[in-house]
Symmetry: C2
């Protein structure tokens, strides 16, 4: 336990893991809350996350100007630079030492579950060297698979990009009918690929995507060809969305499909060539359909990094929530005090904020509280509003040694019984996060007679 | 030669080839000009282009309602459906017969060079059966490689999508530095991949894409690895944009790179697997870099169909020009008469429109007139404005038997001497078409001292 700091103090902030479209909004939330509290001396921001923490390389966000802010507030990716690294115990000790050199009393670590784990390691290192430090994890990941979170900042915008692009691709596929297979990110969980369902225009029965393959269900090539054949037979076309993480059991173990297919060909992959995961997956699936269905035009595409940094597709709710998780972290550190009213931004509720004010804590993880599943399954949709809370770090990031699940999966309530679609509960879950998508109508004029003049 | 038709008449319209984001704007241009002329009885629109022409399946666009218009005017892809087919002489005779059944005196055929060739075949069939028919080709292709055209409707928006996505990817690559290889469409010409250069923020020397590979230059794996190494050495990161059409000489013949690489491995491709072109290209290039440069993070991505139907990235100029080439086709058919003033839409000039009014013609191809190269190379940029004109069909689509080039290539004036970048002339060419791209600034705060408190 650490004491309450009442005067001015220094805090630190770091960005880690994969880029998102809104992580710099979180940085701005940290900066604004800290500066407005009047109690932040310096806001030391590590360059390239854990790398800067270890190498003692910081800039001071308290010196940010309006111009600088304009430059980066809406820029995708990490303006401070990122890095993927779980600090070793030795590195964690170095980090604590560096934080001490700058008299930093609170560290806000912004990232996914690996970052939450890194935060816990740093917290432990501080405790063992008896340095009074609060470490907070602030959530971010496009995959929405962080434990104890309803979703995470970054997900709504990536999902919005995918749903938007898929609504365009539906028009493409109707123009030149055939089979189109689109591979999305989401190695562990299906939230991203599932979001492509929002592209559908409910006015039309044949609106795509027609089939959605999530990593939560085992993939079977025969069933896949059967599914595509059925849709193609029904609509004369078929659009498929597939998560890069789909796989099957090989020797009783979940194995990514590209790897599994490589093995089934004998050897270490496709003729000895190195596989680079997702890209080959589209190829492999196109090949499977071509082999299984004669004479059909089949094409595949793999969404690249643009999906995780789609600044042009930021969801209105993501923009606000990303900002607020950063602000909430600063309030949790006891730096700011909102008085007696809910000081969450419009659409974000901070029910427990008063208990955070000046609290004594070793830190924790800021979470977007999960909406009750029974409301998503049975309830009527209400005005969406996020609720923030602070939970212990190990709730979000259990130590790997414990053998607990490290990430969230799509709950079964979101997956249709046949395993190739989502349920109405998923639409209630993802709809408000992603926001309205531009969907397109059709030209529905009657055909003229053969000799009409 | 056909006579001038002075009363009300029926016209036909067909959409063909690959989808674009703005081809339905062209349809609306045709509809608006025809309806406003007061001289169009029916606007027979073929379902799925050549397929509908052959099978005598039409709808009447003269019956379009405001609601229908709202549905499709901004929808990407072909609202009427498309098809890829060059009619045989027999099919062309059937088409002429079908047009005759509907008393259609002018056909507007909207597509790329294959469509212009189809238009010429139909025109010839009409002449040989002595049916008075004007056939007009109206341009469309995202590749901008149509002969006699400065560019084509569809290109500016596809280019805008690519430049926008690449400006996001630059932020991603700065967050987590490494090598990223993005493959774009453009099998024949480099205009699309070149447009990624517009993503660069000229304020920063290391702004990406750093290397651009166009099909107009032969690809050399060794030089490629050398180029990537040099950029990575200089900036600690490297973003590469590659056209799907790059290739090399195999037995003295230009061969697409994926095919060439497959051959060099012996056999008919990668271990007997069917290649699906563009997708494998990213994989192959990632493999080449990984092999050539040790310990560098290399990823690849292939833009899918979203790039050609990116309704969210329509360029303002593309929107207007796509509309106007459709209107111009109707005026060229002698249906409408604009009086004595330039009746081109804002930003589009119709210098020869008066000569079109009521003209006697067998048809032709609507073109966006090429800007003089010396102005692009040496001139100062003026206010951009497109100029439309009508040229004989075989100027845009020479008969294949003649052995002439069927498509346009990037002129050498647009390609940098080292072959991996574009010139200032290209920026002058593409800049106004694509319009302003959102580019992102950086956080440029000084690093703090190691013990600053």
């Amino acid at each position: 336990m650490v004491g309450v700091i009442t005067g001015r103090m220094n805090i630190a902030y770091a960005q880690s893991g994969g880029p998102t479209a809104v992580i710099n909004r979180t940085m701005m939330g940290v900066v604004d809350a800290a500066l407005m509290s009047g109690r932040a001396n310096h806001i030391f921001a590590a360059k390239h996350g854990p790398k800067g923490l270890i190498e003692n390389r910081f800039v001071d966000l308290a010196r940010i100007t309006g111009f600088q802010r304009e430059n980066v507030a809406n820029a995708p990716g990490q303006a401070l630079g990122s890095y993927r690294k779980e600090p070793t115990d030795e590195e964690a000790a170095t980090i604590v030492c560096n934080l001490q050199r700058h008299d930093i009393r609170a560290l806000l670590y912004n990232g996914g579950d690996d970052s939450a784990r890194a935060a816990a390691i740093i917290q432990a290192a501080a405790a063992s060297s008896r340095y009074e430090l609060q470490v907070f994890h602030v959530p971010k990941t496009i995959d929405a698979d962080l434990l104890a979170n309803d979703h995470t900042p970054g997900y709504p915008s990536a999902a919005r990009f995918l749903a938007t692009a898929m609504s365009w691709i539906d028009c493409d596929n109707r123009s030149l009918p055939g089979v189109y297979i689109a591979v999305t990110m989401g190695k562990n969980a299906g939230f991203l690929v599932a979001s492509t369902a929002l592209a559908r225009n409910p006015e039309y029965e044949d609106s795509s995507p027609h089939l959605i393959y999530m990593p939560e269900r085992l993939f079977d090539e025969e069933q896949f060809v059967h599914d595509v054949k059925r849709v193609y037979g029904q609509f004369g076309r078929c659009v498929v969305a597939v998560s890069e993480g789909i796989g099957k059991l090989v020797d009783g173990k979940f194995t990514e499909l590209v790897v599994a297919l490589g093995k089934s060909l004998g050897g270490d992959g496709f003729g000895g060539l190195t596989l680079s995961g997702t890209i080959s997956l589209a190829d492999a699936l196109v090949g499977i359909v071509k082999e299984g269905i004669e004479g059909v035009r089949v094409r595949g595409g793999t969404f690249g990094y643009e999906q995780r940094v789609a600044a042009g597709a930021v969801s209105p709710i993501d923009r606000v929530e990303a900002y607020d998780v950063g602000r909430y972290g600063v309030y949790a550190a006891g730096l700011a005090d909102g008085g007696s009213k809910n000081i969450g931004s419009c659409g974000v509720s901070w029910p427990d904020w008063t208990s955070l004010s000046g609290r004594t804590t070793e830190g924790g993880s800021v979470v977007i509280v999960q909406r009750p599943m029974n409301e998503l399954v049975n309830g009527t949709p209400e005005q969406y509003s996020a609720t923030l809370n602070l939970v212990p770090l190990d709730v979000v990031a259990p130590p790997k040694a414990k053998g607990l699940p490290l990430k969230k999966f799509m709950p079964p309530e979101f997956i249709s019984p046949n395993g190739t679609d989502v349920t109405p509960a998923f639409f209630k879950y993802a709809g408000p996060l992603v926001g309205d998508i531009e969907r397109f109508g059709r030209l529905e004029l009657p055909e003229v007679g053969p000799d009409e003049k």
